[in-house]
Amino acid sequence: MNHAVHIQCKGILPGKAKGRALVMRDPISFQGEIDEEGTIVVWGHPHAGESVAGKVLIYPEAKGSSGGCMMLRLLAKRGKKPAAIVNTRNLDPNLVEGAILADVPMVCFPKENVYDIFSSGDLVEVNGDTGVLTKIEE
């Protein structure tokens, strides 16, 4: 029996990826808030110390320094990039640049409130071509 939940988003960058969700309620900056190992280094951040590597990041939008795209590119080179990125509120060209260089699928603007549906640790699939975000029941 298939209990998967499908949510339609806008497809931004093509590609399919699966990974554990990392759901963040606040914007994050790849430059200065995530280090070269992909670890969140903002002091006091609810997910401080956790890694973005291999995760499907679900968060409102990028923020902060425009060096963020270079950091994402570097994470890809080091094998520490996120599996996919879901932005719910806004789409930042800088982050999209980084995702293009890092070859990370991206969707945005989900049609439902994903913060009610997804929790960190859920197994999630992102299809950047169709824009479908899927929660896979285990």
Binding site: I12, L13, P27, Q31, G32, E33, D35, E36, E37, V41, V42, W43, P60, E61, A62, K63, G64, S65, S66, G67, G68, C69, M70, M71, R73, L74, K77, R78, R89, N90, L91, D92, P93, N94, V96, E97, G98, I100, L101, M106
Partner: protein
């Protein structure tokens, strides 16, 4: 995306593989944003590439070896070391060597090695209404809001824009995305750039990627606006704000919102300013081993002011004082004797680099087998530097106005 015949030729490789590659990235970006067309840009401010991030300099080297040349005036961003006086700041020699190599690569490609976050203080002043491609959020927001040039929050793709002279017409290049979204009423006297920085930091944390419109700010100086913008783009993702009467496209408050009504007024009083500075304060001890001024890089007049405050004094033996600036301001500070005063007092006028992007980062230290943090407590007049230095350099933070910073550099202790 609709491409002109010339753009198609670029994409098809008729003008070489490098331009074709660059164009293909720009088209991907344009498509991600449902962009309809490309525009010609007339200026680019690009990332220099950092030896702290593997492969970036090599990548530029490969492009330069294949004859890559920028097609528009192009300035470049700060690097992790000061190439003029690396020994004064104990910069690692291998990093210096890599960045000397980068400088020669940039020369080949036609890129000006400004190593600055504020290129508009050094002759790169695009006219209002022009399309440009800039990285560095402190520069982006100044270009959009004060000069009226139009740029997105670009990053690495500025390189591709500079190589082709093109950028997709998306985001903040479209007038509908430049409309005001929040009204901010400043009900406080802003005496120093740091006060402006605190306002920006407070407002940015509320508006996120919005477009704040300010009232109550009168006769700001260039340095004030540099600080306001840098902070807005640190706590938030603000790429443009409106100062009616100053922002070129915004003669009046009403025109900032066009047909849109502002949802609510954000009030900024002295209370919010002090609260913001206090929130950035993490240090438990008043003793400061590092005082950093110059984020964004100080203008020559700010350097002059620090020299006046330092004249005849000595920086405390347990404290390091750096004043960050750029080569053009440095040359003038040298000519005017400001540098000599600062040097005699034991301060260092630093060019090219920025602490939070430098060899002083925790990840850079770890790579060299060193334990951080390099400095325990940083006192700075910049909310932006404070926010990023805390996480990237691991130092405890105090933010205060420039005169208090200089006093603390001399006494070794911040008098809170």
């Amino acid at each position: 995306m609709k491409l002109s015949d010339q753009e198609k030729r670029l994409l098809n490789g008729e003008e070489g593989d490098i331009k074709a590659l660059a164009m293909s990235y720009l088209v991907k970006l344009g498509n991600a944003f449902d962009g309809e067309e490309m525009v010609d840009i007339l200026y680019a401010h690009m990332s220099s590439g950092s030896a702290l991030r593997d492969g970036e300099i090599d990548y530029l080297d490969e492009l330069a070896a294949k004859g890559a040349q920028v097609l528009v005036p192009t300035s470049s961003e700060v690097i992790p070391v000061d190439l003029m006086n690396p020994e004064v700041i104990s910069a690692p020699s291998e990093l210096v060597a890599e960045h000397r190599r980068l400088l020669s690569i940039q020369q080949k490609m036609g890129i000006v090695s400004t190593y600055t976050c504020v290129p508009f203080t050094q002759g790169f002043v695009p006219p209002a209404g022009s399309y440009i491609a800039s990285m560095e959020t402190a520069a982006i927001i100044y270009f959009n809001s004060i000069l009226g040039a139009k740029t997105n929050r670009c990053g690495y793709f500025v390189l591709y824009a500079a190589l082709t002279g093109k950028y997709p017409k998306i985001g903040y290049l479209l007038d509908e995305n430049r409309k005001g979204s929040h009204l901010v009423s400043v009900e406080a006297e802003l005496r120093t750039p740091t006060d402006y920085g605190a306002v920006g930091f407070y407002v940015g944390s509320i508006v996120g990627s919005g477009v704040p419109v300010f009232k109550g700010i009168t006769q700001p100086r260039q340095e004030d606006l540099m600080q306001l913008g840098a902070a807005l783009a640190t706590s938030g993702t603000v790429a443009i704000y409106h100062l009616p009467g100053i922002t070129p496209e915004t003669p009046t408050l009403e025109s900032a919102f066009k047909d849109r009504r502002p949802p609510e007024t954000i009030r900024v009083t002295p209370k919010e300013i002090e609260k913001t500075l206090a929130q950035l304060h993490t240090a438990k001890s008043p003793f400061v081993d590092f005082v950093f001024l110059g984020c964004p890089q100080y203008t020559v007049d700010q350097v002059r002011r620090v020299a006046a405050l330092l004249d005849g004094k000595k920086v405390h033996r347990d404290t390091t004082l750096w004043i960050g600036t750029n080569r053009m301001a440095f040359a003038m500070a040298e000519r005017m004797g400001y540098h000599e005063i600062i040097r005699k007092a034991g301060g260092v006028l630093v060019c090219d680099m920025c602490p939070m992007l430098s060899f002083l980062r925790l990840d850079a230290l770890t790579k060299r087998g060193k334990k951080g943090p390099y400095f325990q407590t940083m006192l700075t007049d910049s909310p932006k530097q404070a926010k990023y230095a805390h996480s990237t350099m691991g130092c405890e933070i105090i933010v205060d106005r420039v005169d208090r910073c200089v006093e603390a550099a001399v006494s070794g202790k911040w008098e809170g």
